[in-house]
């Protein structure tokens, strides 16, 4: 009995530790998207992005090129975009559980505050016949 309870306790502790550890860092979901006005397919997970951009751009193709979760810190996390540009995302400050994040997508620099369930779309340049976009989101909203 003792071994069983010990194993259960260790298992619960590991789960709790993992959950708490995950909760202890600021995370963003970074998605690189190719967008084009040419006839194509809208990726099913990008319908919200399609709607968000529809006021200014009529994209007929939205294709996810890469997606990753970043644990943010003062040290920039680098995201290799499809062309020669590398984006850098870092944590600027944290106050009252609101994180200020610096996003560098050359030649652009933007500082913004994260919000639960919200996304920031950054036009990251040209690629082939379309545009490249970087989407920074609350990872739990996806």
């Amino acid at each position: 009995m003792r071994r069983g309870l010990q194993a259960l306790a260790v298992g619960c502790a590991l789960v709790a530790t993992r959950v708490l550890a995950q909760d202890g860092v600021v995370r963003v979901q970074a998605v690189v998207v190719y967008a084009s006005g040419e006839e194509g397919k809208i990726d099913g997970s990008l319908t919200a992005m399609h709607s968000a951009l529809s006021t200014k751009a009529k994209y007929l193709t939205l294709r996810k090129l890469s997606a990753q979760r970043l644990d943010l810190s003062r040290k920039p996390s680098k995201i290799k975009l499809a062309h020669d540009i590398t984006a850098e995302i870092s944590l600027v400050s944290m106050r009252d559980n609101v994180a200020q994040v610096l996003a560098k997508v050359p030649p652009l620099e933007a500082i913004y505050q994260l919000a639960k369930g919200k996304s920031l779309y950054i036009q990251a340049g040209k690629m082939d016949a379309g545009d490249l976009w970087l989407v920074l989101s609350d990872p739990r909203s996806l």
């Binding site: 600021v26 030649p107 652009l108 620099e109 500082i111 919200k118 920031l120 609350d138």
Partner: protein, 184 residues
């Protein structure tokens, strides 16, 4: 004493108690049929056993068992058992006799905990996402760039940073060739 007589004496008591195998019982019954004196031995022993049983029954009825129980309990040493010891003993007995139920309960509790904790933390929200509105605090571009940023906001509260080559053509007031910030 003949060997058969000796065997009969050994089997007599179990014969009366009904404890013989069928073959031994048949042997004893055959021996009694062939030896009239053996039947008398059987009758005598049965009578003796009956008398002894009756005597024990009378003695048992005469005993005050309630007083006996109390007497035994009074004779036991008084031991103070801690609450923890009682709990440990109960758990130990439960583990001995209801191991399956205990294991199922423990696994169920563990699974419930593993599910409830993340759900609770998710409800609180991830770290850094305490704001309800996404705010752009500053946007700029490097001075040699030929594009300018344009910030728009969606109905869902998301924000978009467009890179436009000509802010005027894009319907944006020209605030300078290298930097543009729009209040949300």
């Amino acid at each position: 004493m003949t060997p058969d007589r000796e065997k009969f004496r050994q089997l007599l008591s179990p014969f009366i108690d009904g404890e013989l195998s069928p073959s031994d019982r048949r042997w004893v019954e055959a021996y009694i049929a062939d030896n009239p004196g053996a039947a008398a031995d059987v009758a005598e022993l049965r009578s003796t056993v009956a008398e002894i049983s009756a005597s024990f029954a009378q003695q048992a009825e005469a005993v005050d068992w309630e007083a006996f129980t109390e007497s035994v309990m009074r004779g036991l040493p008084s031991i103070q058992v801690s609450r923890w010891e009682r709990l440990r003993s109960s758990l130990s007995q439960m583990w001995s006799w209801q191991r399956g139920a205990v294991l199922a309960g423990a696994v169920g509790a563990g699974v419930a905990l593993a599910v409830a904790v993340p759900l609770t933390l998710n409800h609180v929200g991830p770290k850094g996402y305490g704001a309800s509105k996404l705010e752009i605090q500053n946007v700029s571009v490097d001075s040699p760039a030929s594009v300018s940023p344009l910030v728009t906001k969606t109905e869902d509260g998301d924000a978009v940073i467009w890179m436009v080559e000509d802010p005027v053509d894009a319907g944006i007031p020209d605030k300078g060739p290298k930097a543009f910030e729009k209040e949300l």
